[in-house]
Amino acid sequence: MDASVPSRHIALTVNGRPVDALIEPRELLLDFLRDRLGLIGAKRSCDVQVCGACTVLLDGQAVSACCTLAYEARGRQVTTIEGLGADGRLHPLQEAFAEHAAVQCGFCTPGMILTAATLLQEVSSPTAAQVAAHLRGTLCRCTGYWKIIEAVVDAGRRGQEAGA
């Protein structure tokens, strides 16, 4: 910690749980989540907000944690991949990614699933074209995207059938 710049206290909610912390203003949200809270699902890759590997949700909106100050999360809800399932069960997207082999190396996967989740919040059963458009700014180097799109379409369809 740099003693010459006062640190700040922030209170936020992470995956439904309250968190209190003393941060330096310059602390990045990605490092705060990974190094301070041990939530290592969000990854550092491109560092220029292009790839989406660092994606977390801030009040339900996808942001690049690598370029977001932890300060911005004060008083807000942060959702990481670790907060997606409930009661030890997989979220339908997680289930679908596993089912459709939409995961290979897994490095993009947390960001990809969270981004897909924001689509399902708005369009409960999207078409492949809608999924492709929504995931356009989230990169995967391993899969070629086809199985990812299949998985999201399937998760949406099942969610709709279940009346979710």
Binding site: P25, V50, G52, V63
Partner: protein
Amino acid sequence: MLRPFEVHEPSTVAEASRLLGHHGEDAAVYAGGTELIPVMRDGLASYRHLVNLKAVPALDRITGEGDMVRVGALATHRTIERSPVVGARAPVLAQVAAGVANLRVRNVGTLGGNLCFAEPHSDPAVLLIAQNASILLARDGGERRVNAEAFFEGILRTVRRHDEILVWVDVPALPPHSGAAYARFALHERPTAGVAVAVTLDGGAVSSVRIAVGSVGPMPARVPEAEEALVGCGTDARALRQAAARTGQTVEVLGDLYGSEDYKRHIVTVLAAKALDQAVARAARPTGPEH
């Protein structure tokens, strides 16, 4: 790596301006941070004081004022994209906002931040210039309006004084028998070229037109030579092609890794033709919303 800084939370524009004035070059406006944070992290700029404009209430509002839409500086690209007010009064702006960067940047990045950072490879300013938008700059002790087309001075440079805050952007309604359009070409994350057109017809002729080009030169700019050549002409294909060609020929272009000069000129011509066609078609529609 970010070096240490303080974040200030002014509650008014005047206070924000005073902070900027007081700390001088050590301070920067902090809004969405999508441009600022990477630049600071890469050591290309260093500020010990960030003035968090998001602490000032209501700078993100989007309101309809008569036919005009007033977009608060802190409106994000996402809220602009989805705003019913923008959709009704300046729908092409919504289309442009929807195409900025990627959805994460759109969730957080602001119009004001985008304009003030003045990254040449960018879309929103181009349309705002074509639609004759004006910008309000305020500082402690005064404010001034600047037309969008006079706001940019060069690569990453605008006329904004260090202690001025961009407060809102006014986008006037298009007059009757007008249409606007934006066409862009992008291979990378940022666009290679963008052309915006706003045209007004009188009978079958062009009574006024504004053509703006962005991303190919140091800053977005109108192309008066192409505009002048089109005023008074008909809207037949030949006239529009000529205006498009004129646009590509006369616009200021810098070759870079997005494209060589001649290719960029060519793409501008292609985009101008598209945008002119679309704008004219929209202008020629019988009365109703200008889409």
